[in-house]
Subunit: 271 residues, 2 copies
């Protein structure tokens, strides 16, 4: 008689990374409703927030004009200070205070805090984007420690260059990069929440949600022009996440985030 | 023959709490020099920063006037948003980024983050101070965890009310309250750094530093009018800290902070 050994890998713990954009942040009522839902997620979780219109509004009130080069927004020093104030201060701290009131032990972070996301200033090629960062490294050990002591990281779309300067980063990129890095230790679900019900097959029909997409069907729809400009970076980010260890990405309306977090089919599921 | 047992208490670990004010923050060169010094402190440490003139300047550029009632500044909602942006975002994140560049693993916090400092809105008596908080509770368990995972807390003078609202708090009060709470687990030295060499016996002579003060000699000098208006809240805070477990308080010039942190006599030592 012989004994058969089986090596069963320990299942990874679940981690849900939720990204919300400006449409939720700009409206106090939607933000409160969203945070109430977010507070009900019982697994480990991370919230990544974007910027919203407040930064642009404050910049314009301060007489700082958005600098555009070849149709792309440039972050000069004045604008960097504005986003550091608005994203890292106003938006981040208010979300943290609201989550605390909902019994969620939130911890507001920028990429500089705990060196959680290290960036390099985007190299100047055709366009000098100014103080904009490309992610170099995610400190998943630090984020794991934060989760382990029972905290909920709330990430603003800001980082640093390791040389003492803050940098502006794209919130979608933060969500993707963080999810990829955390998938080494966690079973990560990434939820992109926005103002639409999902990826649409007909932009004129807000209900024409494509329920499921894989990389091949996405390429196909992209080629046919069904998936258009605005969605392409988000989709590319999402499939990059899946290719790099993230279990599921769901693109859904922020009102349906809680359903998505519970595995109930809503929005567009990418796998 | 009998055996005699002796209970020797484990010595507490050292913790240095440093408070810097506006004079250091408002000048990039002084801030950099100060942070270089701060980065050299090898024991566990916490940095508490004040506000500086930037908030007032940005408020005035946004057309928001400081509201004064009976000679006291009032924090209305517009001003609360400004201080949340400037203290919690601009100042806090830039200090964190600079400390990271100096090899110090800094973590920027407001009182809302990790519920580190819970406040209540100051009750309205003769004056309604608006969104100003009085400290109700310091979460020293959370701060200890942050220190234990090797992080350096950088505290902005902001807190929350536990009901979802941010509150403006006095940075000196943050430093004192934090020091008192942490003294349960640590041997705390509190360093108040400002633009003078210490507590002066003659305000006209910037070198007339009183090297040592205890509570009785302070009361005596206060009665004689030697210690004047501006210093009284700082001194009252300091002696309150000492009465409540803080080992030493030093009031010194920010240039001499590193010396003070090493126990070299500088400024005014209160014990």
């Amino acid at each position: 008689m012989s004994i058969i050994y089986m090596l069963i890998p320990t299942p990874k713990e679940d981690l849900i990374v939720v990204k919300i954009g400006g449409n939720v942040i700009d409206n106090d009522e939607s933000l409160n409703a969203f945070l109430r839902d977010f507070s009900k997620i019982t697994s480990k979780k991370i919230l990544v927030h974007g910027g919203g219109k407040i930064a642009t509004e404050i910049a314009s009130r301060l007489g700082i004009e958005a600098v555009m080069v070849e149709g792309r927004r440039v972050t000069d020093k004045a604008m960097l200070d504005i986003v550091t104030m608005v994203y890292g201060g106003l938006i981040n701290k208010n979300i943290v205070a609201k989550l605390q009131a909902l019994g969620n032990d939130a911890l507001g972070l920028s990429g500089a805090d705990g060196n959680s996301i290290l960036c390099m200033k985007r190299p100047v090629k055709e366009v000098d984007y100014g103080f904009v960062g490309d992610v170099k490294d995610v400190n998943n050990a630090f984020i794991s420690k934060v989760l382990d002591i029972g905290m909920i990281p709330v990430m603003s779309p800001l980082s640093h260059d390791g040389a003492g300067n803050m940098l502006n980063i794209n919130a979608d990129t933060v969500a993707t990069t963080l999810s990829k890095a955390m998938s080494k230790n966690y079973n990560v679900t990434l939820l992109y929440c926005f103002e639409l019900k999902g990826v649409l097959s007909d932009f004129e029909n807000k209900d024409s949600v494509i329920p499921k997409l894989n990389y091949n069907s996405y390429q196909d729809l992209k080629q046919k022009g069904v998936i258009s400009k605005g969605m392409i970076p988000k989709m590319d980010n999402s499939f990059d996440a899946i290719k790099n260890g993230v279990s599921i990405v769901v693109i859904c309306h922020s009102d349906n985030m809680l359903m998505a977090s519970r595995g109930i089919e809503t929005g567009t599921v990418l796998a």
